[in-house]
């Protein structure tokens, strides 16, 4: 389904074997032909062919071209691309056309990446199934009838179906890793504060992180290199000017210490654990040392996460008061968005402050320390991504069952760590992704293990 690798594609465009125009035209034609059944794109960028022409001219003239020259990139609809709609897949912003580019978009353009269009998503990134979009659910191209996961449902489905070369998603509690796992592709949530958030529409500001979805590990590494690095006009960022991964992801696991936790198994469906155990055996066979780590409070991550998220989301959505963007969010949003706003409004009240929000911040610190300790003893933590197999599209599940999908991905967001997902195998024809979590700014180790996993049958 995926075809040639990202690096091969780049090479053939650079060599002139494949023109950027032909490549992008093909992608757009495919979106027009096939996306009706997938619903991964909400808008196509009409300027993409022009941009492709520019790149071809540069290549013809022998000029230097950027790292992403000619690749077609899908963008989750919560990232501002000037002139395109950043609707957050909500009626609230159905008429909002971006007036500026997110910093990550500027950086992609700088490296000659081509913005193909805006991808579908769960409304305001609230959801783990891809079903809460105002513009209809996204289908899973890798598992018919199943949800693609979310909230970066569109970017994941578009990459998995080959409608775009790479995509940008955002991960607040697993929104890149969850759909990557369900769609059988690669996703990376970089360390909090490594990639600029300027231009990313807020869900929960202290967790939100933009990251890549890609058919292969090198594509994810390459796109992260392009978008990562300090943006001086942003308040909370790591002091990292730029990152280099491509020369560090040699899949050599000698002397690599991989941590696993019994907590992962406790929380996860045994069918999924079979695939995960198989992967761990593979990594051990490739020379990694497997050690057990203690994560006593892991299951507290999810409720802690939802408490903090709800308060931050309530605050973030106050600007959608109906005065500037046409609709007041509470009047037009879906159930899950409303549920989070109402919860946030409730628990941020003065009288409850110490009871919920402050307490959640304390537990957050506790979990962060726990993860840091585990990662001090090891290089990476490896385990499942989603504790359950995806449900059928349209199946009625309770909010708490939906939240349970996030048990294993929210800890990395609470800790501000990095985490990647790579295909590990299948169960009943449904892809299962292996999650690799790394220390703050140690994307290189995560990518190394991910790269090794690509060798697994």
């Amino acid at each position: 389904m995926v075809g040639i690798s990202t690096l091969e594609k780049l090479k053939s465009i650079r060599r002139g074997d494949l023109t950027a125009v032909d490549h992008i035209e093909e992608k757009i034609d495919e979106i027009k032909d096939r996306d009706e059944g997938i619903n991964s794109f909400l808008e196509i960028n009409q300027d993409s062919i022009e941009k492709a022409k520019e790149i071809d001219r540069k290549i013809e003239k022998g000029d230097e071209v950027g790292k992403l020259a000619g690749l077609g990139i899908g963008i989750k609809s919560n990232i501002n691309v000037k002139g395109l709609k950043a609707t957050c897949a909500s009626k609230t912003l159905e008429n909002y056309t971006s007036t500026y580019n997110a910093v990550v978009i500027e950086r992609i353009k700088q490296e000659d990446g081509i913005i193909l269009g805006m991808n579908n998503m769960d409304e305001f990134a609230c959801g783990a199934s891809g079903e809460t979009s105002y513009f209809g659910p996204t289908k899973n191209p890798a598992a018919a009838g199943k949800i693609p996961g979310g909230s970066s449902s569109g970017p994941a489905a578009a990459v998995a179906s080959g409608l775009c070369d790479l995509a940008l998603g955002s991960d607040t509690g697993g929104s890149i890793r969850n759909p990557a796992s369900h769609c059988g592709i690669v996703g990376l949530k970089p360390t909090y504060g490594l990639v600029p958030r300027e231009g990313l529409i807020d869900l929960s500001m202290s967790f939100d992180q933009i990251g890549p979805l890609s058919p292969d590990v090198e594509g994810a590494a390459l796109l992260t290199e392009v978008i990562a690095g300090k943006n001086n006009t942003e308040g909370i960022m790591h002091d990292v000017k730029s990152v280099e991964y491509m020369d560090k992801i040699n899949p050599d696991l000698e002397e690599m210490k991989i941590g696993i936790s019994p907590k992962f198994r406790e929380l996860t469906d045994s069918k999924i654990m079979e695939v995960i155990d198989d992967s761990i055996d593979f990594l051990e066979g490739e020379g990694a040392e497997i050690v057990n780590v203690d994560l006593p409070n892991l299951e507290k991550a999810m409720p802690t996460y939802y408490t903090i998220l709800s308060v931050e989301f309530f605050s973030a959505t106050r600007k959608f008061d109906g005065r500037k963007y046409g609709h007041k969010i509470e009047d037009v949003c879906g159930d899950e968005v409303l549920r989070r706003i109402v919860r946030g409004k409730h628990i941020s009240q003065k009288e409850f402050k110490n009871q919920y929000y402050q307490r959640a911040l304390q537990v957050r610190t506790l979990i962060k320390k726990e993860l840091e300790k585990a990662l001090n003893e090891t290089d990476v933590l490896v385990g499942p991504t989603v504790p359950k197999l995806p449900h059928d599209i349209g199946e009625d599940i309770t909010p708490s069952d939906m939240y349970a999908y996030d048990y294993l991905t929210t800890p990395a967001n609470l800790g501000g760590l990095c985490g990647g997902v790579v295909p590990a195998g299948e169960k009943n024809g449904i892809p299962i992704g292996l999650q690799i979590q790394g220390s703050t700014l140690d994307e290189a180790s995560v990518l190394r293990v991910m790269k090794k996993m690509e060798e697994k049958e």
């Binding site: 950043a86 006009t233 308040g235 909370i236 308060v311 605050s315 106050r318 941020s348 009240q349």
Partner: protein, 451 residues
């Protein structure tokens, strides 16, 4: 009676608090000094707070004798409320950057940094976001004020102090104040929407009267209506029940260290009330003179410069009387004085040594303000050198001969007549004569006549 204030003033910085937009919001068309950050566009992220604004607020707090909060994270909070001028639905406001100050006998509880909202025109239903994001300093007092009159005095003193720092915007009427007032036995009433010292005074006057006439004063928030000079209850819709403060997750807390405070302290101007005290002690000048000198920063700066070389007591009075008068007449603020300190010093020395008369000194000063130059040269240019005695005597004689009536009056005991005659001599000599000399001569010649 207990009265307290919450005062907001715009600080004078080049750029806004959380973005690079310029702050000259009054000089430009509506909604032109704006960007995604200060209009709260979806996805926009604030820049770290403007360092200049933080420094200005520290300096203002030091002027108010506050303790600066150091070595402790000062979170920038989101204060949520719903109003058209607030682009994000919350206002960013810092936790106290300073505490426990005092000005004019009123204790200062806290000093904060805030961002200004936009400007909403309810008649047209339009918002101008040029003002949105301008840094504000918020000063909260304890309820130490005992009357509307005291409140007025306090606000005047506060404004003078703030102007002294040069850290607030120079345009008039950027003051915004909320006040709270409670009378013996009554509840505390808050009054919002006060925009001037006069407004505060009128609002409090009205409120005292209203509360005295009200049987049971309820705790409430009222709004001051400037046009009618009364206060009215605010609709509950206009008051947020709960601001749901949270630390802004997009911003690191402000951290002030002791070194930074010391640096600001060493480079800042002395507060007017402290400076007044000091110059009285240091130069031995009179209190009422010192009061006039410290009223403007550049004026007292000038005094301290000339006092290095000229008798301070003499200089202080001369500045207060003569220089102040000339500046007032020309409506010239002290910061626009064109002549140099050396020129002024020289002029004062010439007067002090009686090389020239104070009157001539003033004439020279008037010329110096228009065409700054060495006072000796001006003296020459204006032809003000001492008149020859014989020439003066001739003029006095002429005046006596020409004014028989006044001479008669003087001889009949009307002393005012002498002043009249002296004025005539000054006129005749085109102001070049020394009035004291003229008087002496007049008396002498008239007495001789009488004999």
């Amino acid at each position: 009676m207990k009265i307290g204030f919450e005062i907001h003033e715009q600080m004078h910085t080049e750029s806004k608090l959380f973005c690079e937009c310029p702050t000259n919001y009054r000089d430009v068309d509506p909604n032109t000094n704006v960007c995604p950050v200060c209009t709260g566009m979806p996805g926009a992220k604030p820049s770290p707070p403007n360092k200049k604004a933080i420094e200005s607020a520290i300096e203002i707090a030091l002027m108010l004798d506050c303790d600066i909060v150091t070595q402790k994270p000062i979170h920038i909070q989101r204060k949520h409320y719903d109003y058209p001028d607030l682009p994000s639905g919350y206002q960013r406001t810092s936790l106290p950057i300073a505490e426990n100050g005092e000005l004019a006998g009123v204790r200062i509880r806290e000093v904060h940094i805030e961002e200004d909202p936009g400007k909403y025109d309810p008649v047209q239903g339009k918002v101008d976001f040029n003002r949105s994001g301008i840094p504000l300093v918020e000063i909260i007092t304890k309820p130490d004020i005992k009357s509307p009159e005291e409140a007025r005095e306090f606000l005047q003193s506060l404004i003078r102090t703030l102007e002294y720092t040069n850290k607030i915007r120079p345009e008039p009427s950027t003051l915004r104040a909320d006040t709270n007032i409670s009378l013996e036995g009554g509840q505390r009433v808050e009054i919002k929407n006060i925009n001037s010292v006069k407004g505060a005074f009128k609002a409090l006057k009205y409120e005292v009267m209203r509360q005295k006439r009200t049987e049971k004063v309820e705790r409430e928030t009222r709004s001051y209506l400037e046009s009618q000079m009364i206060t009215v209850p605010m609709r509950s819709k206009e008051i947020a029940d709960d601001y749901r403060y949270i630390p802004d997750p997009n911003l690191l807390p402000i951290l002030i260290n002791q070194k930074q405070v010391s640096e600001i302290k060493n480079n800042m101007y002395e507060a007017p009330h402290l400076r007044k005290k000091r110059i009285i002690e240091e130069y031995g000048i009179e209190e009422n003179v010192a009061e006039v000198l410290v009223s403007e920063r550049e004026f007292v700066d000038l005094f301290e410069e000339v006092a290095k070389e000229v008798d301070p007591n003499f200089a202080s009075k001369w500045l207060k009387n003569r220089l102040r008068k000339v500046l007032n007449y020309l409506e010239m603020p002290p910061k626009q004085i064109p002549f140099s300190i050396e020129q002024l010093t020289k002029l004062l020395k010439m007067i002090k040594s009686e090389e020239i008369t104070p009157e001539k000194g003033e004439l020279i000063l008037r010329e110096m303000v228009k065409n700054p130059d060495d006072p000796e040269k001006i003296l020459e240019k204006l032809g003000l050198e001492e008149m020859e005695k014989s020439k003066l005597e001739r003029s006095v004689e002429e005046v006596i001969n020409e004014n028989e009536e006044a001479v008669e009056d003087f001889k009949n005991g009307k002393d005012e007549a002498l002043n009249y005659l002296s004025g005539q001599v000054m006129k005749k000599t085109e102001g070049k004569a020394d009035p004291r000399e003229v008087m002496k001569l007049l008396k002498k010649l008239l007495e001789e006549q009488g004999e």
